[in-house]
């Protein structure tokens, strides 16, 4: 029986994104978003960061993180609009916006990261 519902795969992406975000986002956001700007820790210099970013493993990992996080956002945001604002009747528009956004964001992430 070949029923092709996208839900299982979307859910897998959402779950993987949730796990990746839970594990990696807090430390990155804390360092770059708060600790360095406020001077709690001295920010690393440009050369160091550039060398880290140029490492292929970093690129792949960051790209994966961005992609999964975006699909995680897309899935949750879609259901938040469905349930939290009771907009389920707009489900097609909402799905296009959310998952389309995630795809577009992932492409952008790829362009930024792999051009370094």
């Amino acid at each position: 029986m070949a029923r092709r519902s996208p839900e299982p795969l979307l859910w897998l992406l959402f779950s993987a994104g949730g796990m990746a975000a839970a594990l990696l986002v807090p430390v990155l956001l804390f360092l770059f978003g708060i600790a360095f700007p406020l001077g709690w820790l001295s920010a690393p210099d440009h050369t160091h960061l550039l060398s880290v970013l140029r490492h292929p493993a970093t690129k792949v990992i960051l790209f994966g993180l961005c992609l999964l996080c975006l699909f995680h956002w897309a899935h949750r945001f879609r259901y938040t609009l469905y349930d939290g604002l009771r907009l389920k009747n707009l489900s097609l528009v909402i799905s296009l916006f959310c998952y389309g956004g995630a795809v577009a964001g992932s492409v952008a992430a790829g362009v930024v990261l792999f051009r370094i």
Partner: protein
């Protein structure tokens, strides 16, 4: 066995009773219970995770462009409004992390030597992994 179930109200001439009352659901139904509010906040954490991606890409782009662009990025990210946004984002992301780890044993039925692993150790493993990864990332960034 290929039985299919029946689900009909039996009896002749169908229901003749008065219509039951259906309580309408208010739009902001999630303000009425603490648990529902926490749920909606948890779901909103997704927005801040998306914001983090944007922030990360802006930074990566700046680093790639050169040290001047990176300095500009640092000035921008040091503005109080951006820091405040990131503080709020971090709080939401932490809410996400805590709830995510808390719910992890629900989906996983891990078996070790035939016995189902209790939720406690599964949650603990997640926290351990989180600590290790956080330390590794911090080391990688700060060692320079």
């Amino acid at each position: 066995m290929s039985r299919t179930p029946a689900s009909r109200r039996p009896g002749p001439a169908g229901g003749s009773g008065p219509t039951p009352y259906r309580k309408p659901v208010p739009i902001f139904w999630w303000l009425r219970r603490r648990a529902y509010l926490v749920f909606v906040l948890r779901e909103l954490s997704g927005v801040f995770i998306a914001w983090f991606v944007v922030f990360l890409l802006l930074m990566a782009g700046a680093i790639a462009e050169g040290s001047d662009a990176y300095e500009q990025f640092r000035d921008w990210s040091g503005q109080w409004s951006v820091v405040l946004l990131n503080v709020i984002a971090l709080l939401f992301v932490l809410l996400h992390t805590l709830t995510w780890f808390g719910l992890a044993p629900r989906a996983m039925a891990v078996r070790l030597r035939g016995r189902r692993v209790r939720p406690g150790p599964i949650v603990a493993t997640h926290y351990l992994l989180w600590a290790l990864l956080t330390a590794a990332v911090a080391w990688l960034i700060l060692k320079g």
